[in-house]
């Protein structure tokens, strides 16, 4: 029974991990190349989910809605980049935090105007609704497995893009020395717009995939955003590999903590005390981990080279 629970929670943790990776990948790329903190990344996640919900209402097909939501989020991301963020690259982090905070206020209210004050729900199509018996006798939701598969596929694709293609080479070069890359005749601005668009789309994909498991509402991106920040800080800001490792680590630790912390603490203290303290400690666990990592390695686990 415990082994079953363990496998189930591992899968749940993996699912949270790949979702976080989709968010963190965009954040860490944007930060790595342009040294820009983008709080509004969570808004793009929300925009993705809202677009999917609205397109679903319109087309009636989940797959079509998901496929339409991605370019829509890309478009929103590009507009945001061109209208607001572009002017902020040369500013300090404080200005970036403030302006993107303003963007969050704007987007949280804008989705109210577009999607109404009520939370929206994304219904899964029947072919994704089923359960799978991974091991005989323990059904697991098929959709969660699909999320994990898509997330891992995207991670693989991103890895190949960054390490094996010319664009990826430019991205890595931009991350280690922007000025030099620009001096070599590369249009860094254009490169960055492209990278930002990619990050926006990944965030949108995260929102679309999260849509059916949570309620689609204003402010839904913020908790994920903060977790994604924890991920990129632990992973080392600017490192895709670090983001991947840290995302899975955070996903697993958070899920496991919530599932087992009370029982683990029950080993060293009274049952009643563990039942109250367990969830409290579990919810703080990843922040403690982050503090610990930063204490010993202020640059994160995989600090990007060349800076």
């Amino acid at each position: 029974m415990t082994a079953l629970l363990l496998i189930e929670q591992t899968l749940n943790g993996l699912q949270l991990g790949v979702m976080l990776f989709l968010m963190a990948a965009g954040l860490t790329l944007v930060f790595g190349i342009m040294n820009m903190i983008n709080l509004a990344h969570g808004s793009l996640y929300m925009v993705g989910a809202y677009c999917a919900a609205l397109f679903l209402e319109w087309t009636g097909s989940f797959v079509l809605a998901a496929l339409l939501a991605l370019p829509a989020t890309l478009l929103v991301g590009l507009v945001v980049e061109i209208v607001v963020l572009r002017t902020l690259y040369e500013r300090d982090h404080l200005d970036q935090v403030l302006a993107t905070f303003g963007l969050i206020l704007f987007f949280n209210e804008a989705v109210h105007l577009v999607g109404g004050a009520e939370a929206l729900y994304l219904d899964l199509p029947t072919f994704l609704k089923g359960q799978v018996e991974i091991i005989p006798g323990s059904p697991y939701p098929l959709y969660r497995l699909v999320v994990i598969a898509v997330g891992l596929a995207v991670a693989l694709g991103l890895y190949l893009l960054v390490t094996r293609t010319r664009t990826g080479m430019l991205i890595r070069a931009g991350a280690s020395n922007r000025a030099m890359l620009s001096a070599l005749g590369v249009n860094v601005r254009l490169l960055f717009t492209a990278v930002f668009g990619l990050g926006a789309m990944l965030a949108g994909l995260g929102g679309v995939m999260a849509g059916p498991t949570v309620s689609v509402q204003s402010g839904m991106g913020e908790n994920v955003l903060i977790l994604a920040f924890v991920v990129i800080v632990i992973g080392g800001i600017g490192s895709i590999r670090g983001a991947f490792v840290a995302a899975l680590l955070i996903g697993l630790i958070d899920t496991m903590g919530r599932a087992f912390m009370a029982d683990i603490m029950g080993l060293v203290m009274s049952h009643a005390a563990a039942q109250t303290a367990g969830p409290t400690v579990a919810s703080m666990l990843i922040y403690l981990l982050m503090a610990g990592v930063l204490f010993f390695r202020p640059q994160g686990l995989f600090p990007p080279r060349g800076r």
């Binding site: 935090v97 905070f101 704007f106 503090a291 930063l294």
Partner: protein, 313 residues
């Protein structure tokens, strides 16, 4: 200009209770009381951010911790402000000191993130404290009692107490900033390596500043909890940290009084926008972006004088 503006703002704030009594509009007493409480919080942030260059994205943690200190003590039947307030300020100073040991090892973007992370940690801690309200927060049935010295239930008395405390915090900030301590802090902001090279243990100075800032913000938290007669996790929400940041930057980081102007401007603006439309945030957001993009140096910068200082990268 800054002095004149500050003077007028303070005189106006002092006159508020008289005006609200004449026009019988007690709501505004509450509103301006809140302005002053947030002004104290913004002052505390400005101390580390404006002068020390430490962009803390987690000051709501102190606001909440100070508030919860009052709330939890009140729930346990300890109503005396002489116990509540020092404990609120003290616990915030302790929390700032302990987290400061970790966060001050980092800088730049990492500093922003890790202060945010610690604030989130407290947010989740208080959210899961079912005994003290959990998600729903904690109603404070009686305001802090000062054994007959001052009655906080009286609107005007409470207001003037906050006013005096604001003046005190302004005075402390001004003294600190111009002292040797403040000079070292500002030096560390401009070039920390050089300050260390000439023999200043900058880490200790920054830690002291961070602790003082946390304590001051804790006082604001205790006041806020008393005014609202309520404290809940929403006080610690990360967007609250963002709002305090906005106030400081809106007012301008160059001068001591900037945060007071910023807090007044932000809260009054959001109040009047909210009166205009329930979708006020859709105006506030872009407005904020415009301020960041075009009005560098904040209100103080617009008043002239301090622009150059606030513009340092």
């Amino acid at each position: 200009m800054e002095r004149v503006a500050t003077f007028f703002v303070l005189v106006a704030l002092a006159a508020v209770p008289v005006l609200t009594a004449i026009f019988d509009a007690p709501f505004y007493l509450d509103l301006f009381g809140r302005v002053m409480i947030y002004a104290i919080a913004a002052l505390s942030l400005n101390l580390v951010m404006g002068y020390g260059g430490m962009v803390s994205f987690g000051h709501a943690a102190f606001l909440g911790l100070g508030g919860y200190a009052v709330g939890i003590l009140a729930k346990e039947g300890i109503d005396s402000g002489f116990v509540q307030w020092p404990l609120a300020v003290g616990s915030c100073a302790l929390f700032a000191f302990l987290t400061g040991l970790v966060v001050l090892r980092t800088s730049g973007a990492y500093f922003i993130m890790i202060t945010l992370a610690f604030a989130q940690m407290l947010f989740f801690l208080f959210t899961s404290l079912a005994e003290y309200g959990g998600d729903d927060g904690l109603t404070i049935w009686t305001r802090s009692e000062f054994s007959g010295l001052i009655d906080l239930n009286d609107g005007a008395s409470f207001y003037y107490l906050v006013f005096v405390l604001l003046l005190l915090c302004l005075g402390i900030s001004a003294r600190l900033v111009d002292s040797r301590f403040g000079m070292v802090l500002r030096g560390a902001k401009a070039n920390e390596r050089r300050m260390r090279a000439i023999g200043f243990p900058t880490f200790r100075y920054k830690l002291a500043a961070y602790t003082i800032s946390g304590a001051m913000c804790g006082l604001a938290g205790a006041l806020l909890a008393n005014q609202a007669e309520f404290v809940g996790p929403s006080v610690l929400h990360w967007s609250r940290s963002g709002e305090i940041l906005v106030m400081v930057v809106l007012g301008g980081m160059g001068g001591v009084a900037g945060p007071v102007l910023g807090a007044a401007a932000y809260l009054l603006l959001s109040y009047f926008l909210a009166d205009l439309t329930k979708h006020w945030a859709i105006i506030m957001g872009p407005l904020l972006i415009l301020v960041v993009l075009y009005a560098r140096g904040g209100l103080l910068g617009l008043l002239g004088g301090r622009r150059a200082k606030a513009d340092s990268p």
